[in-house]
Symmetry: none
Subunit: 133 residues, 4 copies
């Protein structure tokens, strides 16, 4: 198994952009490899700048936690088991929009999407994931 | 009293790994000295990468707070006395899995375990502690 | 004047990739806007991971210094006027590979290229710049 | 290809420790995976604490630069092409002691050794590398 090639990462970003345009929300979209290192990134025209970091960090968080970032939200609330998690391991994102990219059950990378509502971010990330298969 | 030697730190990690295998949860395990500086570390196959930092930081937090990290959770909730503690002193972990290592009542180091549920992390850390006596 | 749109940033990256393939050196290529914020990024297959940060920071350095990064090298040597500059403003890159992107004399962004020799990085960045006109 | 398992990382550290004992210089020894993430670490009794970070960062630098850290020294001197490199990509080590770990020509990780003279560090790292084959 080789790591995710740039051509596939760009396909994933292109598919995410199609979805973002469909819902009318410009997005920041990042694709990282299985070590959390950036392969490709695109900020759509009009997407907020804060989400450059947030999208990239969502993808990295998915790799480091081996899970979608949406799975973390409940665990880190006040009183919950992992309260305070977000400031560990260099800064993790604890809301949805980061999803693992897998080929035949092996993690090859992750996508992170940010700039809309969390449900929009997740929908666009899922469109990116779908482009891998 | 001399500080914890590497051979003992490795025994502690080995005992923790035995326990982690027993409960079927791969873990990151760190042992630090009485200054909070890393002596030995092991990431078991399949354990999440975020816990490299978290396990090490749990051990360091125990040294800096002179307490198990599980003792901090109640104190740092919204409205509680130490709310916000987790972002001080370079970043502290405020959930269980970090425990002091003591010989005859003297702190010689700490163990930090991370990658499972908090109760799993604590159980594996306790197995490490037990290997010291 | 509008800031650089994603479509143009991608054209610039595509042109840089063509040049990188021509010289047989896989590269990291970043395009930032006139505020130094990332618009698009690509890491070619086989390009070193250290250059993710370096390419992005070269582009950002060009914006912050309003100059190509190659212009900084002489100024920061021991004994020279700006010795120590590289650790300021969040970390600047003081060797070639970052170049301003201008339209009709107005800065609209910058490109940063890293992973080869400095002269290769500059050649690939210049190919990106040429794609803007 | 799977990433480097803990058992192999520990073999590598054990072999490095044998060599360090042979030359009579206690060392810090770190092994990271192909994404630069720590797998195993040992600080031998009496080895300096600064080298916890340095050894780990040497291994990470080898991954990020896809080269032994010893190869960087000439390139980063005042007046040389990559002067200033050491403060990029989160902080790189630019002297010897970090070496890639390869299986059949594929990078699976890296070892970093620190606490002695650079030539001692390199000798101990090479002993670790030799244990992989």
């Amino acid at each position: 198994m080789t790591s995710l090639p740039l051509a596939k990462a760009q396909n994933i970003i292109d598919a995410a952009i199609v979805k973002a345009n469909e819902i009318g929300q410009p997005m920041n979209i990042a694709v990282v490899d299985d070590g959390g290192h950036l392969i490709a990134f695109a900020r759509m025209d009009g997407a907020i700048k804060a989400s450059i970091d947030i999208s990239t960090r969502k993808a990295r968080t998915s790799i480091l936690m081996n899970a979608p970032t949406a799975a973390l939200s409940d665990l880190v609330q006040p009183g919950a088991e992992l309260y305070g998690l977000e400031q560990l391991s260099g800064g993790l994102v604890i809301f949805g929009g980061g999803i693992l990219l897998e080929i035949d059950g092996t993690v090859v990378g992750a996508i992170g999407v940010s700039a809309g509502s969390v449900s929009q971010d997740v929908a666009v990330a899922e469109a990116g994931v779908a482009a891998l298969s």
